[in-house]
Symmetry: C2
Subunit: 212 residues, 2 copies
């Protein structure tokens, strides 16, 4: 039986065809998250989904290709989640909180996938790494936009927008390292981090006691 | 030539005797940080310091023992750094800032060692893992004490002390993941995080613009 987090990750690939390719991605994710990308072998991945190593190579030329596809779909998924949450937000003052809470909830829900995409990045070949880094810059751009907007409007007091964006993303990413389903649920955690983000940017009123 | 961060890590073991043991620890740290603990082999570690695998086993029974010694000395070092910084602080209101800035500076200075001790923890055998977890709880205890003291004194406004302690440690630990010597220097980074910690706990005055 799959760990809950892996079942949720599997849903991200529900439209991958053929079915064999989908099973391979999930087996690779399991292998990479169990012992790290470098220790996983194509043979182990093949065994996890009852295939031969030769059959794996019919779908993916290398272990690198599997890591790349996992990284790309993972980054796409969190970007889409954050973007959808922002699109549903009508109050511009609420967008930073929404960015943070959706980013954090995603990392909690998908902590197995998130560990692989956040901690195995440097195992990608240079061209693939650059492509994924491009996706990662889109989070920074989105977040910086909210920070600048809030500062210009006088809602936030921030001295260094780049450093603040880095810290907020860093807090969200580290959730993947420590999160366990025994901790509080991903939505409550996201809400708590949304409130923390407002404190960090010095949003008016956030130095008063508030439910976290 | 060693990366700067590795030279600093090597100093932590400067009193390890005999010299061979010290060289082995450093070679193991290099191997674990290059490709992850699970992918490193005793043979590779031996080669990195010009020894035979048999010679390695004269000093350490297993790769686990090397990881354990690296983890223990690493956790001891950061604990001592934070404790020393707190001991030099006369103003009780300043202790949270000092905790955070020394914790963060250490993770930046020692980012290579910090990555291994923070991300390879689960590779330890159960009894060793429990021992290291005991060391980790001491950070939580130290930090919680400062948060409770500051809340009771009315300096901070915190609803959930445990969650706040978790977030502050999490922010510091993630520095090891993203830190590069091309980023700002460890002391300035520590100072910025110290100021952020005060915002997070709602310390009086921190919602006003302040240099970060």
């Amino acid at each position: 039986m799959l760990e809950d987090s892996l079942s949720e990750d599997a849903e991200l690939w529900s439209d991958v065809q053929p079915e064999t390719r989908r099973r391979l991605l999930l087996a690779a994710l399991e292998a990479f998250s169990a012992n790290g990308y470098n220790a996983a072998t194509t043979r182990e991945i093949a065994q996890r989904c009852g295939m031969s190593s030769a059959a794996v190579y019919m779908h993916y030329r290398s272990k690198h290709d599997l890591l790349y596809e996992i990284s790309r779909t993972g980054h796409d998924a969190v970007l889409r989640t954050v973007q959808d949450a922002l699109d549903e937000t009508s109050d511009p003052q609420d967008r930073l909180r929404v960015f943070m809470s959706s980013f954090v909830s995603w990392h909690a829900h998908h902590h197995t996938l998130a560990r692989v995409i956040q901690y195995e990045l440097r195992a990608l070949p240079a061209d693939r790494f650059d492509e994924i880094r491009g996706l990662r810059r889109r989070f920074e751009t989105l977040l910086r936009k909210e920070l600048v907007r809030g500062t210009e409007a006088g809602w936030f007091s921030i001295q260094d927008v780049d450093a603040t964006a880095l810290v907020l993303l860093s807090m969200g990413i580290d959730v993947a390292r420590w999160y366990s389903p025994r901790a509080r649920n991903p939505e409550d955690l996201g809400a708590a981090y949304g409130a923390l983000a407002l404190r960090i940017v010095g949003a008016a009123g956030t130095s008063e006691p508030s439910p976290e």
